[in-house]
């Protein structure tokens, strides 16, 4: 399983990943200018926070959001291992929001769904990494240390 790594030496905190994530993934129009005008506004799945650090869903192996979801809306893609919100069934109970240790699930009262990064599982490559001007974000292999015996 690949994991999105952030090189904190390279991350300048420029928020470009948030901007393009909200535009490409969170908006209807996929164009920045139109996305700015959309209601409800697009929601970035990545958070640039703290001391310059872009954080998005870690797709935990032992994912609290999946245990907390009362109707199986939080799902893991069997092929990629990526966790995503199956929006049609989300009832906006925010149980997942409550348990995410990274705080990266955003409740969208407007859309009545929990919004989180699915690492652009349908696009091939995460837009945040693609747009990062300093290439601070990159997909790398994760050690398989979590494998239970």
């Amino acid at each position: 399983m690949k994991v999105l790594m952030v090189d904190k030496e390279k991350c300048t905190g420029c928020h470009q990943c948030e901007l393009w994530c909200a535009t490409e993934i969170g908006s209807e129009s996929k164009e920045l200018y139109s996305a700015i005008n959309e209601e409800p506004r697009g929601i970035p799945r990545v958070f640039v926070e703290g001391k310059r650090f872009a954080l998005q869903c870690r797709h935990c192996d032992d994912a609290p959001c999946m245990s907390a979801c009362p109707n199986g809306t939080m799902r893991r893609d069997p092929d990629t291992g990526l966790i995503y919100v199956h929006e049609p069934t989300c009832i906006a109970c925010w149980m997942c929001v409550m348990v995410c240790p990274f705080g990266i699930i955003e409740p969208s009262p407007a859309l009545k769904v929990a919004v989180k990064c699915d690492r652009c599982r349908n696009m091939g490559y995460p837009i945040c990494a693609e747009m990062c001007p300093t290439q601070a974000l990159s997909l790398r292999d994760r050690l398989d240390y979590r494998k239970k015996d």
């Binding site: 109707n71 009832i91 925010w94 348990v99 699930i105 409740p107």
Partner: protein, 434 residues
């Protein structure tokens, strides 16, 4: 190897999934007295409110049993267990098991109030309950008990166009879930929706003919044609008790850290189990979905021969979009409910109220044992790690209470307390590039 699972909700299904993901392909028989499989009890109020149709109440797809290679026995009540013979009696047959999971859940409490047998009085726990309330021709409902289900049921009925009164004998809404201050914020919202809220009053009797027509409290008479009880649940231990399985002091099935009961090869998980509560520092029955799911997973893995330890439960509740103001709480909600184990224990509450938001931490010796978030809840999950691992957060209170709380704020705490985490947990948290 042959598994039998009694129950069909979160703990049961998560145990099935754990057994299967561990690679075990042995036979699994699942018995549940619910005829409708795989529905999520938590969602019943949504069904009553007509916000979700029946198919959307399912938390797993219809072919779950098939793809998981489970033989379901739906609408079948398990009558008894013979731990010696390792068999169960259900329907008209005996079934043998090598390992058995009791995920029998809980039964709703129906207080012995005069007139409680009248028509139009129901709990909201099973699909049948929900169906009955959904179909029942009523104009005016009284919901008794303002816990999570009670509040949601009241709003559901209101959304269906009924006149609704929510009656709670304690002094606030959601007494076990939120503190007075947060409950007051939620109460305001509930009242804005149009639900009449009465607290500090007790239902004394139900009046009417065959059908209920009035609820009488100590100070008033509330006309109604529907009453929904939601005064809490108790673990459904009848089956366990009859099999001689040891119960805990709180009346749930006593389990060890692997979710095993006092009887060899019998496990228990979910609302029926009494587990160590991380926030309380003592055993407790946390009859909530996430705990059931986690316990089911631990039980399933151990049943399949893996070694997995349940670190403990803690209460987590979220008032979702249903009410219109996000509010969550975890662990304890007030200092007064903290158990003082030694004279040196030091308890502290930290509160912050801003426009449209409320946040409170309950600390025991500098460790989070409870948290309440109202309004802005997104980053609340960050605290769950600290609560779960009972990490001393004294040095980070400012950040934890701040508007810009983020994961980076707790990284130093996690680093400092690396030995609280398993290797896998620690790496998962650290595997961000930091």
């Amino acid at each position: 190897m042959r598994y039998i699972i009694v129950g069909g909700s979160a703990a049961a299904i998560s145990a099935v999934e754990a057994i299967r993901t561990s690679g075990d392909r042995a036979d699994i028989d699942l018995f549940t007295d619910e005829a409708t499989p795989l529905f999520s009890r938590v969602l019943l109020p949504y069904y009553v409110a007509q916000q979700l149709s029946k198919p959307l109440l399912s938390f797993r797809s219809a072919d779950f049993f098939e793809t998981s290679q489970v033989t379901p026995h739906l609408g079948v009540k398990v009558e008894g267990i013979d731990p010696e013979q390792k068999t169960i009696t259900a329907g008209d047959g005996n079934f043998s098991y090598d390992r058995l999971l009791l995920a029998t859940g809980s039964d709703p409490i129906v207080p012995a109030i005069e007139g409680v047998e009248k028509q139009g009085i129901s709990t909201l726990k099973t699909m049948a309950d929900a169906e009955q309330i959904y179909q029942y021709p009523a104009k005016k409902a009284v919901v008794i008990g303002a816990g999570s289900i009670g509040v949601e049921a009241a709003i559901s009925l209101k959304k269906r166009g009924l006149k609704v009164t929510l009656l709670e004998q304690l002094g606030q809404l959601l007494p076990t879930v939120f503190d007075e201050e947060s409950a007051a914020i939620i109460r305001q919202r509930v009242e804005e929706i149009g639900v009449e809220v009465i607290t500090g009053e007790k239902a004394l009797r139900f009046e009417g003919g065959q059908k209920v027509e009035r609820v009488v409290t100590d100070t008033r008479v509330i006309p109604c044609d529907l009453v929904v009880f939601s005064v809490g649940v108790r673990p459904a231990v009848a089956l366990a008790r009859s099999a001689g399985i040891k119960l805990g002091s709180l009346g749930g099935i006593q389990v060890d850290k692997t979710m095993r009961t006092s009887v060899e090869d019998i496990y228990a998980a979910g609302d029926v189990a009494e587990t160590y509560d991380l926030a309380r520092g003592t055993n407790f029955i946390n009859a909530i979905w996430p705990c059931a799911f986690e316990q089911g997973q631990v039980a399933g893995l151990n049943m399949a021969g893996k070694r997995e330890v349940y670190e403990g439960s803690y209460r987590r509740n979220s008032i979702g979009n249903f009410i219109g103001i996000p509010a969550i709480s975890m662990g304890l909600t007030r200092v007064e409910s903290c158990a003082r184990e030694s004279a040196t224990d030091e308890f502290r509450e930290v509160k912050r109220r801003t426009k449209g938001a409320y946040r409170k931490l309950i600390l025991k010796n500098g460790r989070i044992v409870g948290a309440v978030f109202v309004g802005k809840t997104q980053k609340a999950g960050i605290l769950s790690v600290l609560l779960r691992k009972q990490i001393d957060v004294s040095s980070a209170i400012g950040a934890l209470m701040g508007d810009n709380l983020n994961f980076m704020d707790i990284l130093p705490l996690i680093r400092r307390n690396a030995d609280c985490f398993t290797e896998a947990e620690y790496k998962e948290l650290m595997d961000t590039g930091l």
